[in-house]
């Protein structure tokens, strides 16, 4: 029986520069931050990142890891705008594919269903078509309605953070919303699930919460606090004070250098968690 447990570093060792990587969660909620931090420590670059974006996108922008970003929004939720993403856009530092939120879902669903596209009305008549000239429409074969054909967004890898998982890759969410984590996993060649706790299969929780099946998962990382500073309810809420410190530092190069030295330029995730614990105790 496959034991898929691995470390953040082992996950990153399976990734390559230039890959398309989907990141689960939503805004500043249940983001696989320990895996993002491991990417920051690596020499990976030129990534295409697909995300309902939050600080995952901001941190990867700040580190120059992103060549292209596919997104509907980037936000820290309680702080509406993500400063590193804003800076990267203003500098023209990243290529972007800005879609309606529903188009992102449709692209992932098409990839997960092995379809070339899925039709929708979302995006029609908006400037999403102007700024993404590669998008095409399709005429209904059963009538005359013109619909947008959202191209599949196949992922080389997906990174998601769940509350619980077993060693084989079955995973459950215990909070209010799965977001689109199952679709990210199913749209990916290889999906990596980090989780608060690895538990025996029988302890994953209620049937309706078992939404990530092991056939879609290549690796499992036990990462307590792995979503910090985003929320991972009911295990923990967003660390609002830390997020505020992050967003404030992101607006000033000197402050950012200090923040990065304290929290990011560290040997591993354990050192990050220790730095966060020291901050909380101070």
């Amino acid at each position: 029986m496959a034991d898929k447990r691995m470390t953040e570093e082992q996950v990153v060792a399976e990734l390559r520069s230039g890959m398309t990587i989907g990141i689960g969660g939503w805004g500043s909620r249940r983001k696989p931050m320990s895996l993002v931090r491991a990417i920051l420590r690596s020499d990976l670059r030129d990534l295409t990142v697909v995300s309902y974006g939050g600080p995952d996108v901001g941190l990867l922008c700040a580190a120059g890891k992103i060549r292209r970003l596919v997104y509907g929004f980037v936000s820290l939720d309680s702080i509406p705008l993500e400063p590193h993403f804003q800076a990267a856009r203003k500098a023209g530092a990243i290529e972007v594919t800005e879609y309606d939120e529903g188009m992102v879902q449709w692209g992932l669903y098409a990839a997960a269903s092995r379809l070339p596209f899925l039709p929708t009305r979302a995006g029609l008549a908006s400037d999403v078509l102007r700024v993404n000239p590669e998008l095409k429409t399709v005429t209904s074969p059963y009538g005359s309605e013109e619909l947008l054909a959202v191209p599949a967004i196949p992922l080389d890898a997906a990174l998601v953070h769940l509350n619980r998982a077993d060693a084989r890759g079955n995973a459950s969410f215990l909070g209010p919303d799965l977001y689109f984590d199952d679709l990210f996993c199913a749209a990916a060649t290889k999906a990596y699930v980090s989780c608060e706790r690895v538990v025996p299969t029988g302890e994953l929780g209620d049937l309706t919460r078992l939404r990530i099946p092991r056939w879609s998962v290549a690796g499992v990382v036990e990462a307590p606090g792995g979503a910090h500073f985003t929320s991972c309810v009911p295990d923990y809420d967003r660390d609002e004070a830390f997020q505020k410190e992050y967003a404030t530092a992101a607006k000033d190069p000197q402050a950012w250098a200090a923040f990065a030295a304290t929290y990011l330029e560290l040997p591993d995730e354990a050192a990050y968690q220790a730095a966060v614990a020291r901050r909380a105790a101070a």
Partner: protein
């Protein structure tokens, strides 16, 4: 004779009116005053509306701005279910607008050239899909020529000048701190529907960066005594509404 009301309370009622007659759909307000408006509409003239707690539950009963949502949950509305509702059309959203033009094109994406913007905002979010799938209204807490522009930089929400906007497109109304605007004109260009008590038509004209359709302009209706009681005692006892629309 109504009890005296504040501008924020007039705005809340004007937002509530957006959902009048909507029946059994999800009301999705963005912002404090629209949230107050949606809850007020459900407590009064649109009792069948569905409301979310802002996370993933449909909740029953009234609750206060900034307070804990009601304990009674009617159902589950994670983001995926919200998208399903959008496709089905069973929703009426009231969004913000960083820019809006005379045909109701709205921008929340970026300011300046999209390729290298002067300022990056949220991204288009769900605005393109919302506007072509179900009714949309807008809330602008500070009516100004920065928001009401001749041409938006990035059309996120779809306006009436787009021939391919489809059969489900409808912009119900735009509520601001000064006025209510709608698109009830022959060419669906923006019309000044009413000015809030104490605001002149000229004030609205001066704060708008394009020519509005202006006919007979009535005053926005005042809150009833019952509406004021609900706003002040039940739905916003901490007066958070005054933060968005100062008295």
């Amino acid at each position: 004779m109504n009890m005296p009301s504040t501008r924020a309370e007039v705005c809340a009622v004007a937002c509530a009116e957006a959902w009048r007659g909507d029946g059994e759909i999800l009301a999705s307000p963005m912002g404090l005053v629209p949230s107050l408006g949606a809850r007020l509409a459900r407590e009064t003239f649109s009792p069948d509306l569905l409301l979310s707690d802002g996370e993933a539950s449909y909740v029953a009963g009234p609750w206060a701005l900034g307070g804990p949502p009601p304990e009674t949950v009617e159902g589950w509305i994670p983001y995926r279910a919200v998208f399903d509702l959008v496709w089905k059309g069973k929703r009426h959203v009231m969004m913000g607008a960083s820019q809006i033009d005379r045909f109701g094109n709205q921008n929340i994406s970026c300011i300046g050239d999209f390729a290298k913007p002067k300022n990056q905002l949220l991204g288009v979010r769900g605005a393109p899909g919302n506007t072509v799938n179900h009714p949309t209204s807008y809330w602008v807490p500070k009516h100004s020529t920065r928001v009401f522009v001749e041409r938006v930089d990035m059309a996120s929400g779809v306006g009436y000048d787009k021939p391919d906007r489809g059969e489900f497109h409808e912009i119900r109304r735009v509520v601001t701190n000064l006025a209510v605007l709608d698109f009830a004109t022959a060419d669906h260009s923006m019309r000044l529907a009413s000015v809030h008590p104490g605001v002149s038509v000229d004030e609205v004209v001066q704060a708008t960066g394009f020519a509005l359709e202006i006919g007979e302009v009535p005053e926005t209706r005042l809150p009833t005594d019952e509406e004021l009681r609900l706003i002040r005692d039940v739905l916003d006892p901490k007066s958070l509404r005054d933060r968005e629309v100062p008295a």
